[in-house]
Amino acid sequence: MQLQNSNEMLHKQMGLSEKRVSEFQRFWRSLLRNRGAVFGLAIFVFLIIIAVFSELIAPYSFDAMMAGPRLSPPIAGHPLGTDNFGRDILSRLIHGARLTLIVGGGAVGIGMTIGTVIGLIAGYFGGPIEAILMRLVDVLFSFTDTLIALAAVAILGPSLQNAIIAVGIAQIAFYARVAHSAVLVERNKEYFMASEATGAGHFRMIFGHLLPNAASPVIIMATIGMATAILNAAGLSFLGLGAQPPSPEWGAMLSAGRQYLTSAPWIVIFPGIAISLVVLAFNLLGDGIREAIDPTQRRSRG
């Protein structure tokens, strides 16, 4: 009897996992049909490769002064030119790629973790806990991510680490809302009430049942979140509130280079293109993932 039972369960699980695989394949195929998403994915992979192997790829170190002539326009040997210290701009951009991923990943990680936990707890307990938590999330949301990040870094003090934390805090509201609405759907399902009735603890209910269901919308959100996080962090560094010189962080490069806008515009042009390209990649990828999962969002292409 018991054996039969477990057999049945096994089949069920297998059936479930087969269904998951085919769902994933469908999602993947749909994603690959989207030209924008493929472009985004390609840039993302390219960025990871550069970030991992930056020491091997970059012709010079990020702080090698007088690697070439000062303020040189793009020439052979320095395809993107050099800055006021004669540092090779291409090399600095390559070294900055790793920072970009760390900043984006770190901030999204912080925002996603705190935000998801808040959303889950609010949705699970309901009542006054939900009312207070979600009202606070509304306040965060109404001030927009840019201003929250700015206020947070103003209080924490300027540094790259604090900028990552600040940008992470600025993202909490997005994930909290997404996780919260996922819980609201799940809360009324039969299995959930059954599990609650059999006396499963709060911890198990939240992290065993609710988290897996909230995970997928949260992860979709995180792709767009990377774009926003990289943009916000670059903005803070540009203001001098994030990465400090001689860091090759792209926003900091823009900040240091802006006084040479008249004499050596390439110092400003190339880091800006790098930021735009990476942010565009995450935006396209995020849009693509959302469309692949939810076909009603699909844009008809002419």
């Binding site: 927009t144 201003l147 209080i155 943009l231 540009f238 203001l239 001098g240 880091p271 930021i275 002419g302």
Partner: protein, 307 residues
């Protein structure tokens, strides 16, 4: 309608209170005593002098006492003095806030003038070349950092072509920063408008209007456009807040003498009275404008006006 307005006002006041508590609390637990920072350079300052200065600023009191002191002074318009130079914080911020609001509102206006028609056209010609082109531009628009866009516009129009001044105060100086802000936000508005217009154009009342045999222009302008504008008005508060956030950065690019540029300088100096004042003032402006925009929206949307 009155209940709606009162509710929004109440929520606004609560929001500002939450902001003041959070800021007071966080500043209290943060490391980096501003008085110590101030005297870090000079070795001659004695421990007693530092202690006297801290007492003077109320930094030795428990946080809740500091908070009540701060709230009391704030309501009287006494927002403290800068740590360096001992200037009146309220005055320093107050003279600059109009510049910031002018910049944010001009940016919002430009963003609406570009973004709304683009999104409307995109939705109406859904799937066409126009739509694809507009939406490709829009996603690029939301990806380009606005401070970089600002530098590029400055390079092109102020340095290369010399049509406009590089930086400073005045109507001509407002053009580049406002256009920068407006362009970057117009992409967001275009995307928003497009998706809400697609919903609206697929709704029953539009189909009914068409099937009644109304001319297409009538259907578009009398019915669809109106609903589309209401959705945008509903978003105006949030869009304005984004403008205020963007303004902090853009003021820095174009040396526009607003609250943002001034405050960023003080953040680097760890001047806490200014940091508190900056966050508080921004919170007040954002909340007041959001409540005003919500009231306008409530007045436009008959569902709320009657309800």
């Amino acid at each position: 309608m009155t209940t709606y307005i009162l509710k929004r006002l109440f929520a606004g006041v609560i929001t500002i209170l939450v902001v003041t508590v959070v800021v007071a609390l966080l500043i209290h637990i943060m490391p980096g005593d501003p008085v110590r920072l101030l005297f870090a350079m000079s070795q001659t300052t004695s421990a007693a002098e530092i202690e006297a200065m801290r007492q003077d600023l109320g930094l030795d009191l428990p946080w809740y006492q500091q908070y009540f002191m701060y709230m009391g002074r704030m309501l009287r318009g006494d927002w403290g003095t800068t740590i360096r130079g001992r200037q009146d914080v309220f005055r320093l911020l107050w003279v600059r806030i109009p510049n910031t609001i002018v910049l944010a509102l001009s940016g919002l206006l430009i963003a609406l003038l570009i973004g709304f028609p683009l999104g409307f056209l995109s939705a109406y010609k859904k799937g066409s070349i126009v739509d694809t082109a507009a939406m490709t531009t829009a996603i690029m628009g939301i990806s380009i950092p606005h401070f970089w866009l600002g530098l590029m516009l400055m390079w092109l129009f102020a340095i290369e072509l010399q049509w406009l001044p590089v930086a400073g105060q005045g109507i001509k100086n407002l053009i580049l920063p406002a256009v920068t802000l407006g362009l970057s936000q117009s992409a967001v508005i275009a995307r928003l408008t497009r998706s809400s217009m697609i919903d609206i154009l697929g709704q029953d009342f539009v189909r009914t209007a068409r099937s009644k045999g109304l001319r297409e222009t009538m259907v578009l302008y009398r019915h669809a456009l109106r609903s589309g504008l209401v959705t945008i008005v509903a978003m105006l508060g949030l869009l304005f807040t984004y403008m205020m956030g963007g303004a902090v950065v853009i003021e820095n690019v174009f040396a526009w003498n607003g609250v943002g540029r001034f405050s960023v300088e003080q953040i680097m100096e760890r001047d806490y009275p200014v940091i508190q004042g900056f966050i508080l003032l921004y919170a007040i402006v954002v909340v007041v404008v959001s409540v005003l925009m919500d009231i306008v929206y409530g007045w436009l949307d008959p569902r709320i006006k009657r309800g």
